[in-house]
Structure formats: C-alpha cells, structure tokens
C-alpha cells in the first residue's frame, strides 16, 4: 500500500539484548508521505518486516503527542532528530527529503543500557526520583491551596522546570552522558516553591548522590542538553542546582 512518494534508506540499530552485540542494518522504505510522523514511518517499515516474517524493530513510544517521554531515538546523530523543541513522535517526514539516508540509534549511555534494538532501560531516572524528587506530604494533610500565595514568576519558573518529560535526550546528547539537566529540573521545580524549601538540603544531596551512583557523567557545561531538550529546559536550572548543592554542603 502506497501512502506518498518519498523513498528513503534507513540504517537502524538492531540489538537482541543488552548482552549481545548490535549493528546497523540497512532497510529501504518506499511510498512515505511527508505528513507522516517519524514513528508512523517506522510502523510502515515494521508492517513490511512482519509481512516478510522478520522480526519488527523494537522502539519505545506511547502517547505520540510529545508528552509521555517514552520515545527515544538518536536520528542522524541527534536526540529526537533534526528539529529542536520536539520529541521523535512529533517529528514529521516533511523534515526529510526524498532519497535521504537516515541513521537511527538508541540513546547511548552507560546508565541507559539497551534492552532491545532502540529501547533502553531508563530506570536509573526512577531511582534518582525516589531519592528526593518529591515533597513529603501525605494525602489529606494539606491546607487550603490559596493559603500559600506564590509569586507568579516563581510559579511559572517552577512550571518551566517541572515540564521535563524524563525522556533522557539530555543524557543521550551529552558527550559525558551527564544527567544534570534532568536532575536540575526536578531540584529547581521544588527549590522555586516555598513548600519545597523545607526539604531542599536533603533533596539536592540525595538526588545528586544517586545520580553519581548510577554512572552518569559529569557536567562540563557544553550546553548540548539544553539544545536537544524537547521541553526547552534551560541551563539556568543546572546553575540553580549547583547553587543549591553548594549551599546544602556548606550547611554541614
């Protein structure tokens, strides 16, 4: 079944499991429409593979509207592809030309081992969250929401940090595989709010300690993470986290 008139050559990372070696495999795809999303193009390729009784390419995806953070492909060397400010599922084929060769690889980082093909294990992020990415307030103990006025600018800045979708593009794109932008976004969200200040010291120390334990690299301020972040989380958050971290350690 033809959908459009773009013909492409895909070089896709295939790897059976974390223990086995992977390699790039070349697949031609034909009849692609510029209105398709990148993942819909993958659906078509997979449909073709199924029809040939070959095993389809495993890739993570779910909401397909840029918010769940599940999709994770490095496309032509860039996390989430050539456009900025979007996830792979929001990338459309109109961003490519007929005849292009497209190389697709998984997130690459020691702390994100490949599970299969393009799917990676990001549970390291979960463990960092569990160390302090919260405010310790049990259900039912809260006061009236408007008892605590919060300046709009602070609330907005907190929201901008909280918008992180936890996809891991920041790690994938960093030459050191550092998770600083991800951790800084969570630390900042709470550091900017009065209700988050109570646990600020423990939070930043515990989350950073877990980040180091997971094997993420150090931050050398190249700023690549900021460029590739689909939610536009800024480096300012890393500066804020460093400040929080310094203050937390000075308090000891």
């Amino acid at each position: 079944m033809s959908h459009g008139n773009m013909n492409l050559t895909l070089k896709i990372w295939r790897q059976n499991s974390a223990k086995e070696q992977g390699q790039l495999v070349t697949y031609p795809v034909t009849g692609i429409s510029p209105d398709m999303s990148f993942l819909e193009m993958f659906d078509i390729l997979n449909e073709q593979l199924v029809s040939k009784n070959e095993s389809p390419i495993v890739f993570d995806h779910d909401c397909r509207e840029g918010i769940c953070g599940m999709c994770s492909m490095v496309i032509n060397g860039r996390a989430h592809g050539p456009k900025t400010g979007i996830t792979t599922c929001q990338l459309h084929m109109r961003s490519f030309k007929d005849g292009d060769t497209i190389v697709v690889e998984p997130w690459r980082a020691q702390a994100f081992p490949v599970i299969k093909d393009l799917a990676v294990d990001r549970s390291s992020f979960e463990r960092i969250q569990a160390k302090g990415g919260f405010i310790s307030v049990n259900t039912g103990t809260a006061q009236d929401a408007n008892c605590l006025p919060i300046p709009k600018n602070d609330a907005d800045a907190s929201f901008n940090a909280a918008a992180c979708i936890g996809c891991g593009a920041c790690v994938a794109t960093c030459k050191n595989a550092s998770a600083m932008l991800f951790v800084a976004a969570k630390v900042s969200q709470f550091a900017l709010l009065p209700q988050g200040k109570i646990e600020a010291t423990a939070r930043v120390k515990n989350m950073v300690a877990q980040m180091d334990l997971e094997g993420f690299g150090s931050c050398t301020n190249t700023g690549a993470c900021e460029v590739e972040c689909p939610q536009g989380i800024t480096l300012e958050n890393i500066a804020r986290m460093n400040r929080e971290y310094l203050v937390a350690n000075c308090k000891d």
Binding site: D35, C63, R64, E65, V137, N146, F159
Partner: protein
C-alpha cells in the same frame, strides 16, 4: 431481584459521604502492615491510590506497561481539573459542580457518587499544591481559573496546556517517595493478563514481564484496576498507543460486570485525520474553546482558505444554535454539531471533514487590552496582533506549537482545522459506592470504572475523578472490605488458582504463535476501528449496530485463523502485546454494539438517530432507560444485562438545554 447493590448510603446527598466516613470499618495500623494490595495502572487513579494506601501502611505492588509510572496516559491531559473552590466568587459551590456533572452526563450517573466527587474536589487542589504541583497563578500569587464546556463558572485549575502532566507528576512523586521508603514495589514494563480468584474473591494477578516475556504470579488481599479507558477499540483515538482494555476485560470474563459499555466520548476539537497511515489522533484542548470561535463557511464546498473568507460569509454555528453557552457547550453537543455541518457539505480542508477553530477575534481582543495596559493610545494593527499573540502563547503556547508540528500550518495565520475524535470512555467496570466491582476484593478506579460521568463527561472532570478515587475515596472504602480480611494470611502463589490462571494466560500466548497466519495485528485492529467508528461512533442506528455485531464476529473468527505474530514469547515482543490487546478489543467491541443497540434512546455521547428532537438534539427516554446497563459475561461470547435503576432524589430530571 437485581444482583446489583450500589451500596449508596442512606440519607441526604450532602450527608452520605460524611456519614459513611464516620461509620466505615477501620483497619488498625499493625494489621495494615500485613495486608497486600495490588494496583494495576499508574495513571492519576493508580499512582494516587498506591501512594495514599502505602502512606496508610498497606503493602502495595504497582504494575504498569510503560517503562515508568510517570508515562501513564493521564500525562497527556491538557486542559485542567475542576474543583468547587469558588475562588472566582462567581457563584460556584459543591452543589453546582454536582449539578453540572449530573446534567452534563445527561442524567445517567448516580447522584451519590457524583456528589462525593464534587465534595472531595477541593481537597485535590489542596493536596496537589502541597505536593509542589505548579498550577497557574495570578500576579497576586493566587491560583488562576478558566472555564470549560457545560458550565457557566470558572472552576478549572490548570498548568498551561499540560495539566495532566503536572498532576500526574505530583502523584508520581508521591509514589516514588513511597518506593524510596520501601512501602511500594514497582513493576514497570509489566502487563496484567489475568485476575486470580480464590473462593470467589480476587486474590492476585498474572502479569507478563514485557522485557523477558516471563509470566509472573502476584498475590494481593485486594486488587485495584486503574487502567484507564478503552477508546483504542476504535483504533484511532486520542489515547496512547498502548492504552488497552485487557485488565478490565479479563476481569469482566472472571465475573466483573461491565457498565454502560457504549458510552464513549467523542471529543470535538482534535486534529483531523490526514491519511490512512495515521496511528493516532491528537487533541486540541477544550480550553481553546474559551477564546477560539468555531465556524464553517456559509457556502457549501467553499475551497478558500479560512483567513480569506470574510466575516459575513461565516457561520458560527455553535453561537447560532446555543446562544447561552455558545462555543462552550458540552463535548457531545459540540461534536454532533460539527458532524452535522460536515455531513451537510459545509466541512473544510482537503477531506471536507473538518471545521475551523479561529483565534482571530481573541488575538484582537487580547491585543487591545494589552495595548491599554501598556498605555499605548493608538496601537497599530500590527502591534495589536503582536500583543494578542503574546497573550495566546502564554495561555495556549504548547498547543499552537503542537498543531503546527502536526499539520505544517501556522494557526496564528490560518484558523485551526478540527474534527471530533474518540477521546474517553464513560463506560467501564460496574462498581458500587466503595468502587468495588461485582467480584469481592476487586476494585476499579478512574476512567476504567463507569461511575461518575453518566453518558457524557464534562471537560476537566477526568483528572478530578481519577485523583478523587485514588487520593480520597479508596483509602476509606477499601477498609470496609479489608477489615474483614485481617485474618487472611498471604496465599502462596503455588495455589491451584494461580496455576490455572497462569495456564490460561500461557495457552492464549501459545495460541497466537500457533496460528502463523498472513495478516498483521494492526490489520485487524484497523478494520475493527473502522466498523466501530462508522457504526458505533457519533451517530448510531439499529440497522448499523446489528450489522456491526455480525461484522465484528466475523472479523474475530478471521483474526483467530489468520493473524501473524512474529518473534518469540519469551522476549520483548510488541507484536505479541498488541495481539493480546486486540483480541480483547474484538470482544469488547461487540459488547459495546450490543449495549448501544439495547439503549434505543439518545443520551449524552450516545446518539441513536431514531431518538432525537425536531431540532436534532438527543432525546432521552427516562421512563424506559433511566438505568445503568451492567453486563454479565456468561461464557462463549454471550452476555446477560442487569439493570441498576437510577434514582434522582435531589436533582429534578429534565431535558438538557444549552440554548
């Protein structure tokens, strides 16, 4: 005698929940430690329930198919969450939220449940703010509100167009905290395939580890299904790709009745289908209807661009038909009105199956206000446009970007094209006031249950219900059951019921691989979706539904003969996951059509063309259909319907009017 006991407490609607809480059985802390609860699904309902129950001291296990609890599809909810705070001083109250929800649901929901929902709505906002959820604020530091369809007050709290994300991350952070404290065991990349019943009570689940393919047995004193809706039965919907009905459907086949399966919400403002490659549909938040105006050209088959059609040649049909609510009529009304215009030949875009959602007037209005604020006395048109755009970006920024990404058109220059799409399912597992299904110990929360939205859900009420169930209802109601279970020791998973359930799951997997057919899973899913959309979609009739039932049965037979599942069972295998989900949709779809056929009235999102007013509005038949249809599985694809009569003691039942 009906088998259904809704267990609604006696007394005035205002007193029911208060009295219930004061008299419900409690479980003491030392016993809570020994009671295990399984939560399936980690969206707003699942994450909030799991965190709250763990805080109380129960031992909790949480399962989700995604790689993290944070990715559940609640994350994609855009617009907002309702609460009866009356912060705007515009006349809101718990009673009004209750009334609007019952009326919005076209008088097909229970008064007792809905009043409780409205009552706890305020606590949700308090809880979320305490968790550090950055909801939108005014310059004075107070929380901001906006309007949603079907209401005349501003009671919707929001965080730009990412409210679901922020609320879910709040519940997720509470859950992660409990995981860190060791009170919750988290099982991501796991899918529940069977409910385990022992002596008629739910005692556990069989889950498949989606990475290794291994089947696992898990015991629980109670099981909570918080797995969302079944909109993906239509193939194309605003649901995530993985959203499925497997847990509720397997539970249904083990004895949980299914309530009002035909009640589906078709959301009016989605980006239209662009071609047959399409894998999902994207919503444009209802909040856009606060400021956007919906219209079609007055002339049929008008091929001009939206911005080239002069004002006097535009038909703002919602404002024309419903002057009181205008563009903010409830979703079912707005969807049908769009379909009506397109069916009459006034649709726009290449497919002619779209209407315009236009921000031109809003941009001008915002721009002028902004210019005044900045004391610019004679702003140029350019300035007004620029200022107006800035305000729109602030309010709806991510939605405009999303639209442009998908369509390649700039919605600041040309009006958006939108069309209705499947979005939410009001139907779901039948539950009583305790949120328990007809299987003792098996609960169902959030979108997965049928309880609060009647035949149509109002905007910004899904987030409210998911969190109400999880944070503020189940922590109380589960005590009523578990207080009697404290003597029950954990049952070893070597019990024959676990073995039998695992065998059932295994034999279905083996069956998929044994077929070795010629057609992919998606092939069948798309065909099912087409039948459902055409014959059980926005308008339904007897003939179409009867045909659909036959066609679905044939398609199901073909599926079991000719589906191809590649790969192996004991590995990460998305084709196998899809096959399992689609096999359940192929059964559920038939039940939806049977329910739609039985209910020969129109109500809310369920529109039977045989039952409409002279003006084409939905016509209810209260003397015949003021009941919940709860379907019991009788084996071999046969079902028996039970009725739970709906009593309206507080609200006077009336024909809905938004004129």
């Amino acid at each position: 005698m009906s088998k259904l006991d809704s267990k609604i407490p006696e007394g005035n609607v205002e007193q029911k929940w208060t009295k219930y809480k004061a008299s419900v059985a409690l479980v003491n802390p030392s016993n809570k430690r020994n009671l295990e609860i399984i939560v399936v699904g980690s969206g707003l309902a699942g994450a909030s329930a799991a965190a709250s129950l763990a805080e109380l001291g129960y031992k909790v296990k949480v399962f989700c198919y995604q790689d993290s609890a944070r990715r559940a599809h609640s994350i994609a909810a855009q617009g907002g969450i309702n609460a009866a705070k009356n912060y705007q001083n515009d006349g809101d109250s718990v009673y009004r939220l209750f009334y609007d929800t019952i009326k919005g649901g076209d008088y097909r929901a229970r008064e007792g449940n809905v009043y409780r929902l409205a009552e706890v709505s305020n606590s949700i906002i308090d809880q979320c703010v305490a968790q550090g959820v950055p909801l939108a604020r005014e310059y004075g530091g107070m929380l901001s509100n906006r309007s949603f369809g079907g209401t005349q007050v501003q009671r919707t709290f929001y965080a730009a167009g990412q409210t679901g994300q922020q609320l879910l991350l709040g519940a997720y952070s509470a859950l992660q905290r409990q995981i860190g404290l060791g009170t919750v065991d988290m099982f991501p990349r796991h899918e529940m395939l069977e409910v385990v019943k022992i002596d008629d009570k739910a005692r556990g689940i069989i889950a498949r580890d989606l990475v290794t393919g291994k089947l696992e047995r898990h015991f629980g004193h109670a099981v909570l299904l918080c797995t969302g809706g079944y909109g993906n039965v239509f193939y194309l919907s605003t649901n995530a790709m993985g959203c499925n009905a497997t847990s509720v459907w397997k539970a249904h086949k083990k004895g949980a009745f299914f309530g009002n399966p035909c009640f589906t919400q078709i959301h009016p403002t989605c980006i239209p289908v662009s071609g047959d490659h399409q894998s999902k549909l994207t919503l444009m938040s209802e909040s856009l209807r606060n400021d956007g105006r919906i219209w079609v050209p007055k002339k049929k088959d008008d091929t001009r661009k939206g911005n080239e059609i002069p004002e006097e040649e535009r038909d703002y049909y919602l404002e024309r038909r419903y002057p009181a609510f205008g563009n903010l009529v409830p979703r079912d009304v707005a969807s049908r009105a769009a379909k009506e215009r397109c069916d009459e030949g006034f649709g726009v875009g290449a497919s002619k199956m779209a209407v315009f959602l236009d921000f031109k007037a809003a941009i001008e209005r915002f721009g002028k206000t902004q210019a005044k604020k900045l004391s610019i006395s004679n702003p140029t048109d350019e300035q007004i446009k620029e200022f107006g755009k800035q305000v729109v970006v602030e309010k709806y920024g991510n939605l405009f970007t999303m639209y442009e990404q998908i369509t390649g058109e700039n919605p600041f220059e040309v009006p958006m094209r939108i069309y209705p799409a499947v979005h939410y399912t009001m139907g779901g597992l039948w539950v009583d006031y305790n949120l328990m299904t007809t299987v003792p110990g098996l609960y169902c929360l959030g979108e997965a249950n049928f309880s609060d939205h009647g035949a149509n859900r109002l905007g910004a009420s899904a987030l409210m219900q998911g969190l109400a169930d999880g944070y503020f209802v189940i922590p109380y109601t589960i005590g009523a059951y578990l207080a009697k279970e404290i003597a029950v020791k954990p049952i070893p998973t070597t019990h024959e019921a676990f073995v039998a359930a695992e065998n059932d799951a295994q034999s279905q997997i083996d069956k998929f691989f044994a077929i070795k057919g010629n057609k992919s899973v998606d092939h069948f899913h798309k065909r099912l979706g087409k039948i459902m959309w055409e014959k059980c979609g926005m308008a339904r009739n007897e003939k179409g539904l009867k045909e659909a039932i036959v066609e679905i049965r044939e398609l199901r037979d073909e599926f079991w003969k000719d589906v191809r599942v590649t790969g192996k069972p004991n590995e990460m295998n998305p084709e196998l996951e899809k096959a399992s989900r689609v096999s359940d949709f192929l059964e559920l779809g038939e039940l939806m059509c049977m329910d739609a056929l039985n209910r020969s009235e129109s109500c809310g999102g369920h529109f039977r063309v045989e039952s409409q007013t002279d003006e084409g509005e939905a016509l209810r038949k209260d003397d015949e259909f003021a009941y919940v249809a709860a379907w019991e599985y009788k084996g071999n694809y046969s079902y028996e319907m039970h009725k739970e009569d709906l009593k309206f003691e507080t609200i006077k039942i009336a024909q809905r009017s938004y004129k």
